[in-house]
């Protein structure tokens, strides 16, 4: 039973992290059909914003010095800012381009951000200790759970509910949903495209920043590569959930997290290094069974 509780907390906290990353990608896809390959780099950017730019092996805190009450809003705002800036610099000029061109542009943008980070901070992973107290274990239901896992679970729930409220109850949320449903029609009915898209980017960037803070606290490492790994999982979750469906992205994010924790626990020892290979194979199998994803949004049906 202890083992089960432990597994449950591991799985839900990892799933929550994936769900938040997937939401960031699904939001933008819903509004402008852009598969944003730069999302992982937003995460890496927010992580590195915590420390002073230098190529030394030891990380010196920069923004990370600030108390949590200031740090969290600042980093969230920074994430939103990077995302909005990338929209202004790149994607705004590609509004009429097809989704493939936008996808490649975002891939290129991610590559630029990644190499800029490499140039400023060097390629070696660095140790960062942000809020080390959060990794203290707490005893719940017979399992010792790091406090952070609980925070992640609670944060995910808060973010998802907050986002749901925003989308259902506010005007900008209504406009975003309308834009996701049918962008051209929404514009004809008076939805301001630029405002909606900027809003989606800002939210997506803030989500990336939240993911960054959690990852840094959890792993204690700042690595340029850390964005790429979670971005891939997030993509897979958005496709699995049905491209463009926000509840689908959250559900699939949790699902991928749970499956990956379960695989980690149950795979025989010699097969564990190949866990990701098993995970992705399962994903491809799953997509074969439901090519449109688990939750098919109404906008996914092609019109002829």
């Amino acid at each position: 039973m202890t083992n089960f509780a432990q597994l449950f907390f591991d799985a839900t906290s990892l799933g929550g992290l994936y769900a938040m990353a997937a939401l960031g990608i699904a939001l933008i896809f819903g509004v402008m059909n852009l598969v944003n390959f730069a999302h992982g780099e937003y995460i890496a950017f927010c992580v590195f914003a915590l420390i002073v730019p230098s190529t030394d092996a030891v990380a010196v805190m920069f923004l990370g010095h600030a108390p949590a009450l200031i740090l969290i809003p600042v980093i969230l705002a920074l994430g939103g800012l990077v995302a909005v800036a990338s929209e202004y610099a790149v994607f705004r000029h590609l509004r009429r381009a097809d989704p493939v061109a936008m996808m490649i542009a975002s891939f290129a943008l991610g590559f630029v951000i990644r190499n800029a980070l490499l140039a400023a901070y060097g390629g070696r992973p660095k140790a960062i200790s942000l809020w080390p107290g959060l990794n203290m274990p707490v005893n719940i239901a017979g399992a010792s759970v790091p406090l952070l896992q609980l925070i992640v679970i609670v944060t995910t729930l808060l973010v998802v509910t907050g986002l749901a409220l925003l989308l259902k109850r506010t005007r900008i949320g209504l406009e975003m949903r309308a834009a996701a449903e049918n962008f051209t029609m929404a514009r004809l009915l008076g939805v301001r495209a630029n405002r909606v898209i900027t809003g989606a980017f800002a939210l997506s960037g803030a989500l990336a920043a939240a993911v960054a803070l959690i990852m840094v606290t959890q792993t204690g490492v700042a690595d340029v590569k850390m964005g790429g790994q979670i971005m891939l999982v997030a993509f897979i979750a958005t496709v699995l959930g049905g491209l463009g469906s926000l509840p689908g992205a959250v559900a699939a994010g949790f699902l991928v997290g749970i499956v990956s924790v379960v695989l980690q626990a149950w795979l025989p020892l010699e097969a564990r290094p190949f866990r990701d290979a098993f995970l992705y194979t399962l994903v491809i199998v799953c997509l074969l069974l439901r090519p449109q994803g688990l939750f098919v949004p109404a906008s996914a049906k092609p019109r002829v």
């Binding site: 630029v112 190949f274 290979a277």
Partner: protein
């Protein structure tokens, strides 16, 4: 009317001749005037031509972006390494290889073919699953495929040497070998693109629904093009391994995926000439930037751009091309003889026989 059709076809087949002639001209120039370093660069560029042309066979004709081709490359490269390395060094570095593979010491050419065939086979298996998905979902599934290959090859200690590099590959790939394969890939790409399957596939690229209504089985043609593309991608991996002599799973990951897509996009996804021109232009740009990173002495002062700016500038160049010319520099046009010229010369020919 028949003659117009015939001259159009001949004009279409003139593209590979023009492109191969261009590459041959470059190699001859390098051989006559270049030094050893330039010859190396030429060989690397031609290996990239093989890679990007084979990427084009799938991406250009189907319109589906593949992030998985670096995976096929890794498969081809490692296969060729297993077949050509000396049994002693395999026993030392790759102890878990099966016995027959351990003893194998093939000549380099059949080993490259074998690398291509294995990659084509994996392309068949993976494509059979991935290509059932629609465009963007398929692209992301190819990304998952790349991650699978990378995970397996970075962890399968006894067979791939995991993250420690495989060293000691015979370095036989000079610019002439690479030129041979580049010409072969260009010919194959052109033949496929002008075959019935290639034309059908391009019809699905333009309008999926209309193509299906005309009785085109999109899945089959996509799979066929992926298999052909997988073969040459595997060969390009083998060539890359045998030109630098060292293999590492991470050299077949995001970096090469990015650069090959960048070349394709900058040149123009829509045409074979675009693929080749993209490689040549970006390779030139990379070479210039690398030299600039090392520093240029102008007069007494030494100028150098900061290291790492090469990648950043390439990325920015790619974004600019996408914004300014979304269809790439060639915008889907091929270098070819004008059908009118062929028609006229034929008419004159017909007259003179009268």
């Amino acid at each position: 009317m028949q003659s117009q059709h015939a001259s159009n076809r001949i004009a279409a087949y003139s593209t590979p001749v023009i492109l191969s002639g261009l590459l041959l001209g470059l190699v001859v120039l390098v051989a006559l005037f270049g030094d050893k370093a330039l010859a190396r660069t030429a060989a690397e560029t031609l290996v990239r031509v093989v890679l990007v042309v084979s990427l084009w066979i799938f991406v250009g004709n189907s319109g589906v972006i593949s992030f998985g081709h670096a995976g096929y490359m890794a498969i081809g490269a490692y296969c060729s390494a297993w077949l050509t390395l000396k049994p002693q060094s395999k026993a030392l570095f790759l102890p878990d290889l099966p016995d027959w593979l351990m003893q194998a010491q093939w000549p380099v050419f059949p080993a490259a073919i074998a690398g291509g065939v294995l990659a084509a086979f994996i392309a068949l298996v993976s494509g059979a699953a991935i290509l059932r998905l629609s465009g963007i979902a398929a692209s992301i599934a190819t990304f998952a495929f790349l991650a699978i290959v990378n995970t397996v090859y970075s962890n399968w200690e006894g067979v791939t040497g995991a993250t420690s590099s495989v060293v000691g590959l015979p370095r036989y790939v000079d610019q002439w070998v690479a030129l041979g394969w580049a010409v072969a890939a260009i010919l194959a790409a052109n033949l496929y693109a002008n075959s019935a399957s290639g034309l059908a596939l391009r019809a699905t690229r333009e309008d999926e629904v209309a193509a299906r209504a005309s009785g085109i089985d999109m899945y089959r043609h996509r799979l066929l093009s992926l298999v052909i593309s997988g073969f040459f991608t595997g060969v390009s991996g083998a060539l890359l391994g045998h030109s630098i002599g060292v293999l590492n799973p991470d050299s077949f990951y995001l970096g090469i995926t990015f650069i090959s897509l960048a070349m394709l996009v900058v040149g123009g996804i829509g045409s074979l000439s675009g693929a080749v021109m993209g490689v040549l232009l970006l390779s030139l740009l990379i070479e210039l930037l690398v030299r600039a990173e090392q520093g240029v002495a102008i007069g007494a002062t030494h100028f150098a751009i900061p290291s790492g700016s090469q990648e950043i500038l390439i990325g920015i160049a790619m974004i600019l091309v996408l914004i300014v010319r979304p269809n790439g520099l060639t915008a889907g046009k091929e270098f070819k003889l004008k059908p009118q010229w062929l028609r006229q010369s034929r008419m004159y020919g017909a007259k003179s026989t009268n």
